[in-house]
């Protein structure tokens, strides 16, 4: 039985390794933070080719710099993940032929009937312009009377980044929200770019790669500090190696069990849920400490301590409540934590008694806890909460949580301003069918005539048929005869306009979407979608067929929604905790409740004093919720005050080593968690040692 803990760990490890190839860990950070709706919006934009563009610019506007950019493009084409590299903006011959073929359908048509006199006047004007011209401008012998016209859009042959140089555009097939795939592509791109001088590049996934690398480095330092602290705690303070190794094995078993159950429940386990789940599992150490300092491991029979059980039940209950949340990350995390805490609780209660763990030195003093009157603490807590209610602001900018990557921010600004990207907004248009989508586009075009999109190249059948009818009604035969009659008279060579307005009767509505058009139509979940560009100052009127693709705005909305949902679940959890506390302590509920109320209110107060609350603060408050109530239950009417205090102190030090050390992080997300946990830990320390601090006061 002495090795049962080890064999149980080994058993779970074998199962894990047997299925490890099937267990998927997701590094898709997008799905973690965005709502399903936002992820769908983003994925559609991506399918339409407007999300994963990589821009590379070479400094200088001379031929040699352009040549180098061409060489760079060839090198980029060799990267397997790169699907397309473009330098020139000019259309392909296929697109030009397509446009020529359908020019009469796309252009504006002046349906005014022209008299013979008017036609002669127009021909004379063309003739005069030839004689007076200083520069060469060929005449349009196909439409000399300019019945058809199209608004001109200036397209530079090469994209130029203002005050820098030429730009190439590359596209990729990878899922750029996947950290691993993004890292691989980032490395390949850098290998190529580093060979060239004065080359800059930007893509949205660069942030994911660079920031996660920085955060990883930051996390490694934190983990080092954490490990040193835990080792110090176990080896130098407790001086019990056996307890340390068995606790590590028990935590390991709990994590493996949680991974295996999560694998059965989810398609893939978020790497963030895994990391935070492991950290939360370390909270279970407080059960172990409670048993250890109460010398329960010497009993050689399964342990049942009502306080520990109720503490576990409360924490478990809170995580079960959170498992129903509609935020994937928190649902996974809650289930993971509930399972790992259960396994850890069972191992500490049922298995550790058989491990021959040496008990600590006995210094038990029987007596009740002397504590500050809870009412005073409740009043202080509510005063702080009152201040919080008035002054607390919520930070909706999720990017503020990330590592502030100044280098990439400056590059993004340079590209956005240099390519005038800030001057337009992208909208997603939908329709039940292709025809319906194009009609919706054309309705929108009437409202926003400067809109650019697929409608420049493809017309709805309804609009096309209308144009065909207009063309059929117009007497082109008469125009041709008049041109033939007057061309020589005006001074042109005979036959100059013989091809004018020919083949108009053969026009038909036969459109297709070419890749070169840059705009696509996609089908997704039974609907058709396309994107279009609009001036950024245009306000899009509410329409079920149009939505603005603004990822920053979507993220802000999602963060707000996340805050609202988390707050609701915290309220439900609070009711559950109050219920448990009522069962435990009846009318004296305030005694254990202050262990929840004071840490939470102090943490919120401190957040308000130092800035705004963010989503990671809220996440940490949930953890604080789950752990602090355990201590309230342990401390309530304990007869073994010193052992209980000692157990809680060690548990708090463990929690500080696991979570609190995040306060040393430079990454705002991690710092925020560490900050809340540290303030919470300090409050709980204050509560458990309050009787010593205020020993001269008669509390009772």
């Amino acid at each position: 039985m002495r090795y049962v803990n080890f064999f149980f760990f080994l058993f779970l490890l074998v199962i894990y390794l047997s299925f490890s190839s099937q267990i998927k860990f997701s590094t898709n950070f997008l799905e973690v933070f965005f709502s399903k709706q936002s992820v769908e919006l983003f994925n559609r934009a991506k399918k339409l080719g407007f999300a994963d563009e990589i821009l590379v610019a070479k400094k200088g506007f001379e031929q040699k710099e352009l040549d180098e950019l061409y060489n760079l493009a060839e090198e980029l084409k060799k990267i397997p993940q790169i699907t397309k590299v473009e330098i020139k903006n000019t259309p392909s011959s296929e697109l030009k032929n397509y446009m020529k073929r359908n020019y009469l359908l796309f252009s504006d048509f002046d349906t005014k009937v022209l008299s013979e006199n008017e036609i002669e006047k127009r021909l004379t004007k063309i003739y005069d312009s030839i004689y007076n011209a200083f520069s060469f401008t060929p005449i349009n012998s196909y439409d000399p009377l300019e019945l058809f016209s199209m608004s001109e859009v200036k397209i530079q042959r090469y994209t130029k980044l203002k005050d820098f140089g030429y730009v190439l555009r590359a596209k990729t097939s990878i899922d750029t929200a996947d950290a691993t795939q993004a890292r691989e592509l980032y490395d390949e791109l850098n290998k190529v770019i580093k060979k060239h001088s004065d080359v800059i590049a930007i893509a949205s996934f660069f942030y994911l790669v660079e920031n996660s690398a920085y955060i990883k480095n930051d996390a490694q330092i934190i983990m080092f500090i954490s490990s040193v602290m835990l080792l110090g705690l176990y080896f130098f303070m407790l001086k019990n190696n056996k307890l340390f190794f068995n606790t590590i094995l028990a935590i390991g078993s709990s994590v493996l069990a949680a991974i295996l159950v999560s694998w059965l429940l989810f398609d893939s386990i978020s790497i963030l849920a895994l990391v935070f789940g492991i950290s939360i599992t370390t909270i279970s150490i407080d059960y172990m400490f409670h048993y250890y300092f109460h010398q329960n491991f010497s009993l050689k029979k399964p342990i049942f301590q009502k306080r520990v059980f109720l503490g576990f039940l409360t924490t478990f209950g809170v995580f079960v409540i959170f498992s129903f949340i509609d935020i994937e990350l928190f649902a996974q995390l809650a289930i993971f934590s509930a399972i790992s805490l259960s396994v850890a609780y069972l191992l500490f209660s049922l298995v550790f008694v058989y491990l021959d763990i040496a008990p600590p030195k006995k210094e038990q003093e029987v007596g009740e806890n002397a504590e500050l009157k809870p009412l005073y603490l409740v009043i202080v807590s509510f005063l702080m909460l009152g201040y919080v209610y008035i002054n607390l602001e919520f930070d909706t900018e999720l990017k503020n949580l990330d590592y502030q990557n100044d280098k990439l921010s400056k590059l993004t600004k340079k590209f956005n301003e240099g390519l005038d990207k800030n001057s337009y907004q992208t909208v997603l248009i939908n329709g039940e069918s292709k025809e319906n989508l194009l009609q919706n586009y054309e309705i929108l075009l009437l409202q926003y005539p400067l809109m650019v999109g697929i409608g420049k190249f493809v017309l709805s059948d309804k609009k096309c048929q209308k144009r065909l009818e207009e063309l059929q009604r117009y007497d082109f035969k008469k125009i041709q005869n008049t041109l033939n009659k007057y061309e020589k008279k005006v001074g042109f060579r005979e036959g100059t306009f013989k091809n004018a307005y020919k083949g108009i009767d053969k026009q038909s509505c036969n459109f297709k979407v070419l890749e070169d058009m840059k705009f696509k139509i996609i089908k997704d979940v039974g609907k058709y979608y396309t994107v279009a560009f609009l001036d950024k100052n245009e306000v899009i009127q509410g329409s079920p067929h149009v939505e603005v693709i603004n990822l920053a705005k979507s993220l802000r909305e999602d963060t707000k929604h996340m805050k609202k949902t988390l707050s609701s679940y915290m309220m439900v959890s609070l009711v559950f905790i109050l219920l448990i506390l009522f069962v435990v302590s009846g009318k004296k509920m305030l005694h254990p409740l202050v262990y929840l109320l004071l840490p939470i209110s102090t943490a919120l107060f401190a957040i308000t004093i130092f800035g705004k609350i963010n989503i990671m603060h809220i996440f940490a408050l949930v953890i604080l919720f789950a752990i602090s109530i355990d201590y309230g239950i342990y401390m309530y009417k304990t007869k073994t005050i010193n052992e209980t205090k000692k157990a809680i102190s060690y548990a708090l030090l463990s929690t500080f080593s696991g979570f609190g050390v995040l306060v040393f992080s430079d990454t705002v997300a991690l710092y925020s968690i560490g900050f809340v946990i540290c303030v919470g830990i300090c409050s709980i320390f204050f509560l458990i040692y309050a009787n010593t601090l205020f020993s001269k006061i008669n509390y009772k």
């Binding site: 031929q63 030839i130 520069s135 001074g491 060579r493």
Partner: protein, 158 residues
Amino acid sequence: MRFILVILLHVSLFANSYDFDEIKFVSAVGSDFKQSGNIKILDDETIITYKEPRFKQIIKKDDNISIEGASGDIYHLKGKALYYTVLFIDIMTKLDSIDAIKTNRDFKVEKEKNILYLTFLGDLADVIEKAEVKIKEHKVLSFKLFMPNEDTLEVIKK
């Protein structure tokens, strides 16, 4: 087709200047039009000054063209006229240098004795079919552009 595109050739700008005769043949009227002038290629602009038959100065700066007549009135080109004028000034600049001709990406070059035969590629082929450049000892003497509608434009350096 009045197609949407303003094509701008990439040119390596270098300070240069030469006098030239220009012969433009317009197929629609079956006539030649002759002019004489000077082209000055500077770092940030190109100036063509026609002296005969009438004074006219065409200045290309960035992607804009301004024209000044004998009266001193200045007007700016737009639309189709702007498109073609920018294009031909850029070509005139480019065809003045044999090195620029050989290293370009806009046309194929074949040499036969003292003539370079240029076949325009991509989008330029819609506007100019081909060109002939007469050279002598690494210097361009003249070039002639052939358009799809049988128009031609010949520039003879003096």
